[in-house]
Symmetry: C2
Subunit: 770 residues, 2 copies
């Protein structure tokens, strides 16, 4: 064994969740090796949390950034290598009864831990925290090693970009890193979340889960603090709860009678937690202090949001089916929060970094804040990706974003086999126990598209029945679905126009009748600055296969032309002469396509209960993609337009098509959409066409009645023979008298003789309406 460098000990005071304990973040090195029991030939400095790929990239001068061009291919050789982390440290000075724990919130994926050459722990699974009492094994000077196994694969799996994910089908490793239509094949490994040595007192708290049952009026609650700890029996505690405005509303002292005690109390006059757009995100602060010799021996703090959440049948869904032989009615797909139906609108969340070791609260907060500002109230955490770190759920609690949390299963036939079921049980149990504490948690879901033919699972699949069982046992009050979509819910489409699927989004979406649209997308090219950053300048235009355009998913995804959709763009907007044309027309189609789907889903309320697009962000820069936000966090124009479509109240139009010909009669069905709990007074809506820069033609006025809270109003169809236009783009503008905040604008394509091509202006790209 080579001589170890002297490790630098960095001791910091523990934060919220471990008041009196000290944490020591160790300095690590990484090396790779071909078989389990040999040592690496060299050791590279390591960043923890991080990923082994990043350590090698920095230590061996790989091309950077890893997301540029085809740099990701540098890492493929690592897949079948072992990696070992090592660190060394002196035994901390301990007071009486204190212990030293090695604690890690995430090691990706299968690993063995050695202390001073002795194997002390092994685990398969990146979501179960590692927490090992080292005290009695420590010498004065110690070496800790973590050896990672090669990435999990399944012999016989496909080796194409579309089938390589099958290698993930016997593990709880998120499938996405094996390659997806918006993700390169880059299979992460390493220590990816907070990892340190912790000195703890003899008695300490592992976790506190404040369960509650609200009474029927949602005014008062029975609380149970369910505590897990070490040597708690006989120690004193002080439990306090502060209301959202900082007042102490609960103060209870006592002595624990077990190491897993449950304390029950009543709490009155509860201020409820609401999702964004429906009320405040009231959060109480629970503090559990462990007292020993009149000193605080440990402290556990948590935010509690009180709410009920159910998944119920939407209005009209029980009426079906009508004729015999009758099949079942659709699955419930409408959320009821605190007894009131809400319309769930939001986005599919994919991990915001390929290397989730790089993601922290700051990363998460950018996105959660953007979601709130876009009038969203839900994220579906897609099962192909990585289950988020704790900070994500804290933020969703704070910003009012509901979380539909999927387990790490996606687009694969996960097996009815014991080795897999055992790891799944361990990982799912860890995830449930961690996440169930959060007010934002709205739904557990087995995973993505498991009941479709590209996965091949059914309700007989044991992995899904196991997940039902675990959620039932550990968190029965939170809804559980086997997968998405279930019967009645819809996924797709993912492009603006597809003749094999009924044409434009304007046509197929208005014919659809789903209880929830939980994936749908319209692709858009990346922002110009993002494109320039991701590829060599000489590849930028024209976009070609075999360049970064292809490795960054603009070509060869689901056929030749996705996600760029160049034939569609040139059919609708003429030849793309430069990169600026391409970006702006592609983004225009994304803006208008997304507005169409989101608003149509809302128009189909109350039968429809959700609109959740594919997807919010991306973990690396995609040249073209359905995302609303480019990597790392640059909103595309569609983000701003979607924000408009998701306003709580707005004027809206169902329009039969996107492309209009000279002489057509333009028509649209008018709606006033209202997702708030408040009534909207009667008013006047006008519809006008705006064309050729400043030409306006107001062609309809609708005097609408007042409406109740949460109710839309469907209005008349307004139509007008189109004027002769000189420019290829025109707008439909809907305005409500006295309510400029309800104005909506839609841009369409006009085709006629001698029409000049124009581009949308900066106001349009920023989603600013008149």
């Amino acid at each position: 064994m080579k001589k170890l460098f002297l490790s630098v000990l960095v001791a910091v005071l523990g934060l919220t969740h471990a008041f009196p304990q000290s944490k020591t973040y160790l300095q690590w090195q990484t090396g790779y090796h071909k078989t389990l029991n040999i040592q690496p030939e060299k050791w590279l400095p390591s960043t923890v949390p991080g990923a082994v790929q990043l350590d090698v990239m920095l230590g061996e001068n790989y091309k950077q950034p890893y997301w540029f061009g085809n740099n990701f291919e540098q890492f493929i050789w690592m897949e079948d290598q072992y990696f070992t982390y090592r660190t060394s440290f002196a035994k901390p000075v301990l007071k009486e009864g204190q212990k030293v724990y090695f604690h890690s919130k995430g090691i990706d994926y299968q690993f063995i831990i050695y202390l001073n050459g002795e194997k002390i722990f092994e685990q398969e699974g990146m979501f179960t925290y590692v927490d090992i009492d080292l005290t009695d094994r420590l010498k004065a000077q110690n070496e800790l090693k973590i050896t990672l196994f090669p990435v999990p694969t399944v012999p016989g799996s496909g080796n194409t970009s579309a089938s390589y994910r099958e290698n993930a089908r016997k593990s709880v490793k998120p499938a996405v890193s094996y390659g997806w239509d918006w993700h390169p094949r880059l299979i992460t490994r390493g220590i990816w979340d907070e990892t340190c040595l912790e000195v703890r007192n003899a008695s300490f708290i592992r976790s506190v889960w404040v369960k509650y049952n609200l009474d029927e009026k949602l005014q008062n609650a029975k609380l149970q603090a369910v505590i897990d700890g070490v040597s708690l029996n006989g120690t004193s505690y002080a439990w306090t709860m502060k209301s959202p405005d900082g007042k102490i509303v609960l103060s209870q002292k006592g002595v624990f009678n077990s190491d897993q005690p449950i304390i029950e109390v009543q709490l009155k006059d509860i201020k409820l937690w609401w999702p964004n757009g429906y009320g405040k995100q009231n959060l109480y602060t629970s503090t559990m202090e462990l007292m020993k010799n009149n000193e605080v021996a440990d402290l556990s703090e948590a935010k509690i949001g009180f709410r009920t959440i159910r998944l119920i049948m939407s209005e009209g869904a029980w009426v079906e089916p009508v004729l015999f032989p009758k099949t079942r009615s659709v699955a419930p797909a409408t959320f009821q929060v605190n007894g009131k139906v809400i319309f769930a609108k939001g986005s599919n969340w994919v991990h915001p970094e390929i290397f989730m070791g790089l993601a922290n609260r700051t990363t998460y907060e950018r996105f959660v804040k953007l979601a709130k500002e876009a009038n969203m109230n839900i994220f579906r955490i897609w099962g192909g990706g990585v289950t988020n770190k704790e900070a994500f759920f804290d933020l969703c609690d704070e910003y009012g974003i509901l979380v539909w949390q999927e387990f790490p299963l996606a687009c694969n036939l996960y097996p009815d086999e014991q080795p897999y079921l055992k790891v799944l049980e361990q990982e799912a149990t860890s995830i449930i126990k961690r996440v169930r504490k959060h007010a934002c948690l709205a739904l557990w879901c087995g995973g993505n598209e498991l009941f479709n033919n590209w996965s091949g699972m059914t309700e007989q699949s044991l992995p899904l029945r196991l997940l039902n069982k675990l959620c039932y046992e550990l968190d029965p009050q939170t809804p559980f679905n086997y997968t998405s979509p279930l019967f009645g819910m819809g996924h797709g489409h993912y492009v603006f126009s597809d003749t094999a699927n009924g044409g434009e989004v304007f046509q197929w979406m208005s014919k659809a009748s789903n209880t929830a649209y939980t994936e749908f997308g319209v692709p858009g090219v990346a922002n110009l600055d993002v494109l320039k950053a991701m590829m060599p300048a000489n590849e930028l235009f024209p976009p070609k296969t075999g360049t970064s355009w292809e490795t960054h998913h603009a070509f060869g995804v689901w056929g030749e032309n996705r996600w760029l959709e160049l034939p569609f763009l040139e059919d609708y907007f003429g030849k793309m002469n430069n990169i600026e044309d391409l970006v702006v027309y592609s983004q225009l189609s994304q803006c208008e396509g997304y507005k169409c789907i989101f608003e149509e889903a809302r128009r189909q309320k109350p039968y429809c209960g959700m609109a959740i697009n594919w997807d919010f962000q991306e973990p690396w820069p995609c040249a073209a993609n359905n995302s609303l936000i480019n990597y790392p966090s640059n909103p595309k124009p569609a983000y701003y337009h979607v924000s408009k479509s998701l306003r709580p109240v707005l004027a809206s139009a169902r329009v039969p098509k996107f492309r209009w010909e000279a002489g057509d009669t333009f028509s649209c069905e008018l709606f006033l959409l209202n997702d708030t709990f408040n009534a909207i007074p009667a008013g006047k809506m006008t519809a006008k066409l705006v064309y050729d820069g400043n030409q306006e033609m107001t062609f309809y006025t609708w005097n609408f009645d007042s409406t109740d809270g949460s109710k839309n109003i469907a209005g008349p169809t307004a139509s007008v023979v189109m004027p002769v236009m000189k420019q290829n783009l025109f707008k439909l503008v809907l305005q409500v008298s006295g309510r400029p905040d309800l104005t909506s604008e839609y841009t369409f394509v006009y085709r006629g003789k001698e029409v000049v091509n124009v581009k949308p202006d900066s106001k349009y790209l920023a989603g600013i309406f008149e």
Copy 2:
């Protein structure tokens, strides 16, 4: 307390499952009382097993039989009464270490047990065996009492015949006895299964479950005998297994090392168990002997059938859905047994007696044998009824009838409430542990039509998630469905013709496209002798509302005319002039309607995997009903015709309608249906019309190719201009050269000028084809 009569002790030797122990069947009395803690005013002799209603009927000279006319109404006053059973007995003489148990296999429904005035046990639930060690409490002379609570009800439930079942929605009391469209309101209570005192040795076996895992080739198995017992630790055992032909294939001796030991062995060259029509019902005999001082201290014997069973997607089902937005694919609804797809054909089982205390092995065997003789291979044990006694499952093992076992939930919104969930967990656990041992068990199912609007449950309902969890834990190898129908499966229709549903069964059924038809029916009037037995002679004809016709479900079910369907009968067959006309034409429509559905479902194979009609038998005589067999066990003509449609191989025709007009072109699509694993050689099928008694017109010959096992052959459409007929009924006869066993016959209605009404003959009524 009144003086007790002297009980007569009847001691018999225990049978198979309790070799060396003695059983004592006690003599009981019954009485009723208005509140819990008072004594009955009088005691009546009681029959055990039986029902309190029967004891009162006999003891107080009620009108008999209880199923005649409206005699069932005599019992309604009992619903809110308490009932108490009492018996007395001397303490048995015990050898050293022996104990006395009170054992009951079923007490319906909620009760308290008192020994010598002291409360020793209480239970809610009729399916959990009672097993109480009385030894230390016994005096020389003892009194045992069982007090039954009033029938469970739910305040605020409906009080109409269609809504009274809501009273069952917070209990695990089968809903059917609250009244159904073929069942009177007659809510049973009492000791309904074997009940006795048992003397047991100190060490005894409670249960042995022989689990197994077959290897991939289904040749060899790993066996685990999972044993539950008392004081087994340290006792010797001898485990033997005999093959179906009586050879000893396993003999193992040892010493138990716990009271819940598991013994593992390998068994080679397994003879598989097959459902009826697909192979033999090979059953092994497992004998577990408990040895003490070289004597057999206890013995447990069981029949084991080795097979695998899965619920898989049918051919073609994964292709759907085609267009975006895509919902999920349908639920799997095809059984695969021992690795081979089978077509599940059979009937919905309802309890064969209102008072299931009257049912025993003889009762069951009549029906199971009839099912086998009708070429059936499955019973769906409908969730509204009573879970059967042990003998039923033994018989299904022996006769090769698969059992789709539902839990006692049907057509109600069972609540997400702890008191209900607790009883459900207890009852379901008992049922699962008892039934999982049987080769016949094919499917666990939460209950009937729970995902339709008349129930209002969804996959979020905690009772169903609990059942899923219990089945996963206790019997993961058996498929589990939440309910029937699931997505893709169909229930209904239940009549021959319904214009609101697309007309005749001939029309709506050929348009249907379901993966499984798990309920469908065509009503028929009861056999004439059954009609005469169930009602006063003066009510027999014409059938009228307000008479036994109505109380026995011929009127006022789902509207005015069901199940008699008189307007339909008179439209198709002319005025019903006497009871003989009515019976024969109604039964004719039932025969032809059922043949149409069963054969059409088979023609839709392989997309369709099941045809299970509503229903097989009935628990009391119905004047008109969808059943194939009248109470108590009289087959209707439809039973024989269904038997023909379920032959493993037959000629079959899809015919567009039942009623033909003079001058019509008669047409039919020809099929050869093959459910066997064997290929069918090429051959010749002819189609002929037979009319006016002996007139024949052969109009088509189809030379069909050979086909593989389990594959149907779809042939051409044969058509012919109809000859002028003189009689109102004619037949289509299909014949295959050299295979008279494949002949099929269908009778149709002909309408033309001067047509004479004739009736089908006795050969027709007996289902005898040419």
